[in-house]
Symmetry: C2
Subunit: 413 residues, 2 copies
């Protein structure tokens, strides 16, 4: 594998550009993280950042909404916009040769959005539709509501807000969010693929160098929801969500936490899959993943099953989480390592993965890990190290939420 | 871009190996298509092939279910098994250096599965859970039932069968399916990435060369379902499915059909997205895609919206489908071409995409298209050519299915 070159440059206004040129590819991708995510939504106006994320792409610079979509499609850009807690995220992938033109369109979107009244209704309607669609997506609803119960506000709040809040959001309040929150200081642009470092730096400096800084935005904090809960839903299915404390991405023990969750839920030989699904045939889907904010983390688990098997699925899943501290076989850890190494190689072959990873690394760590760094951290994992982590951060004090016709008994939690 | 080398070799028993070595990558992927898909399920035993797809990975050769999962995870294999209409499909991606060992495990799975009684119940339970979970996934249910109504049996039947049929399936009947249908003649193995052609050929010949051929399996044909239908579901949402005739992948006009659907539903500037979702804010999700069997094809459309907006969403969507024949702007086609070229380059950078594509090409075309072939076909598309296609295959005689509290008026269809 060619040596990884990762170049980081911070503009005087605080926008950080992280560039990873990749030989042997023709494509390139970039990932913009712009301050102003949903954690900064005004009080009782959840969904403000989400409305902005949609509205901001509906016309920018001299291009109206349709012309802007056309221009991006003409460049072959595969794009995605999403609202994070901290940032609005814009990712784009296309041929390396089209990146300069695409970046310049995103400079318009980010710095010169039209935010026209006539496009506002469409943006709000889209979010309203998405919120209403949750009714037919109980698994998605479960994970949204589980976050609300295991993280304090604003970190646990749904980025899309609620229908009640959406009704309060106006073009004026969203424009105010744009003016107050979106800024270069704290913004991150990750670029990976067939690009030239100097050309990218010149472009970014030209497009964003004169963007003025803004002070930190305030956020509204609040308590989390009830630890044990049930939401009634008429169905033959029960959806089970379980959360417990873990550690954040920047924590020195992060890879130990990652391995602990990997032993539970990474690959087909992991414990939850083999024990709950394969051996007992209890459910169609069961998984656990590590979720990280900047200063805290959780393990979030999901299991979906029939009403009849819900209690046993819950009990068996909880027992698997709890008994991790009883011992880990060395071959379980070795399999985690093997999967990680293979997946690192595959990530290195995808420009979109790399652009997203280097931007995320900068956000969480203020540095970028090379794949060799990660490989070394993973190689150094030992069973006793992972067990130490599990003993220091045992699976307990569970947040439990179920959606289905009947609540479950959750005494053990 | 380095020149694409695609090597095809047919073993005397009819198994075809298609190999695309890719320089500049360390990963490799393979995709096995083995005859015996759900189209060959015995009468009133829908789900037989699906049960086999699950059961077949629960122990093979000398390894029991858990040891087999462990062995694959130890090789860092990212795997997926699925039941197609024609084939069981096994895809795997890992480091190129691990491919020989992984292939040898898949030879055990395909040729020496244990199919043990004790693992059978778990396999059936998994399918039962998946079938029951459909109740909480109305969008998935809609697309399954739409296929049943726009294709004759067995092509429109759900690969997972039904709960009623599942109750009839026994270990004996699934073993009989294995014995009757799984065979080398008609099997396809696509391999792409960091591999050596001669080494792969030697391995495959060693592992599969002495696999005996079998005669063609019979299939049970039957009529499709009602053209216009509604399934009652208590919700504030309505899910709308629309299908109409198109052409198959092997048809000389395929890329014209592809462009026609791309103008409707490719990228953010496509007609359905801009007209139904962006401009009118009618729904959260709307899309159309080209679905191909070996000898016929359909356009399948989906829109999800609230009950209040369902009728208008349906009417506007149908009108967009119908008015494609009225004219296409040259810039619409140019955007389709730009998106296609960018996406071809990205596909060329993914070993999994390539392994899957070359296997699929061989199945549909009995040859493999290089990316240059496809690029040329796309370059040659003209507005008048695409319009000719649309006039020859107009959007009409729609199959319409809705899931929600109320049926819609579908006079125009």
């Amino acid at each position: 594998m060619p040596e990884q070159i990762i170049h980081t440059h911070e503009l005087p206004n605080g926008l950080t550009v992280v560039i990873e040129p990749m030989s042997d590819v023709q494509s390139a991708a970039f990932c913009f993280l712009i301050p102003g995510g949903s954690a900064f939504d005004p009080a009782e106006h959840g969904g403000t950042a989400a409305a902005l994320t949609d509205w901001i792409t509906r016309g920018a610079g001299d291009l109206d909404s349709r012309d802007l979509s056309n221009a991006l499609d003409n460049l072959g850009v595969q794009r995605n916009e999403s609202t994070g807690l901290n940032h609005l995220a814009f990712t784009a992938a296309t041929l390396g040769e089209n990146v300069p033109a695409a970046l310049s369109l995103y400079a318009d979107i980010i710095r010169r959005p039209q935010l026209s009244d006539e496009e506002f209704e469409g943006a709000i309607a889209g979010i309203e539709q998405s919120l209403r669609a949750i009714e037919d997506e109980p698994q998605r609803k479960l994970m949204i509501e589980l976050r609300r119960r295991c993280y304090d506000a604003p970190w646990g709040l749904p980025t899309e807000g609620s229908l009640e809040e959406l009704a309060r959001i106006t073009a004026k309040s969203v424009r105010a969010h744009y003016d107050r929150c979106l800024r270069p200081n704290g913004a991150i642009l990750g670029i990976a693929g067939c690009v030239d470092i100097q050309e990218m730096l010149a472009l970014v400096s030209e497009a964003f160098g004169d963007w003025g800084t803004k002070p930190d935005s305030s956020m509204v904090t609040g308590p989390r929801g009830e630890r044990i809960g049930h939401i009634h839903h008429d169905s033959t299915q029960t959806h089970i969500g379980i959360a417990y404390d873990a550690i954040e991405y920047a924590h020195p023990d992060y890879y130990k936490a990652w391995a602990a969750v990997g032993i539970l839920s990474g690959g087909m030989s992991a414990r939850l899959f083999t024990e709950v699904r394969e051996r007992r045939g209890l459910c169609y889907s069961v998984s656990a993943s590590l979720n990280s904010l900047k200063h805290e983390g959780r393990v979030l688990c999901y299991a979906g099953t029939t009403v009849e098997r819900a209690q046993e699925t819950f009990d068996v899943t909880l027992r698997e989480l709890q008994r991790l501290g009883d011992g880990i076989e060395s071959h379980e850890l070795e399999r985690c390592k093997a999967r990680a190494k293979s997946s690192l190689i595959m990530q290195q072959e995808s420009t979109t993965s790399r652009a997203t990873s280097i931007a995320r690394d900068w956000h969480f760590l203020k540095r970028v890990q090379t794949l060799d760094d990660i490989r070394r951290d993973i190689d150094e994992l030992t069973v006793s190290g992972v067990l130490d982590y599990v003993h220091q951060h045992p699976a307990r004090d569970f947040t439990v939420l179920t959606i289905g016709p009947n609540p479950l008994k959750v005494e053990e939690a």
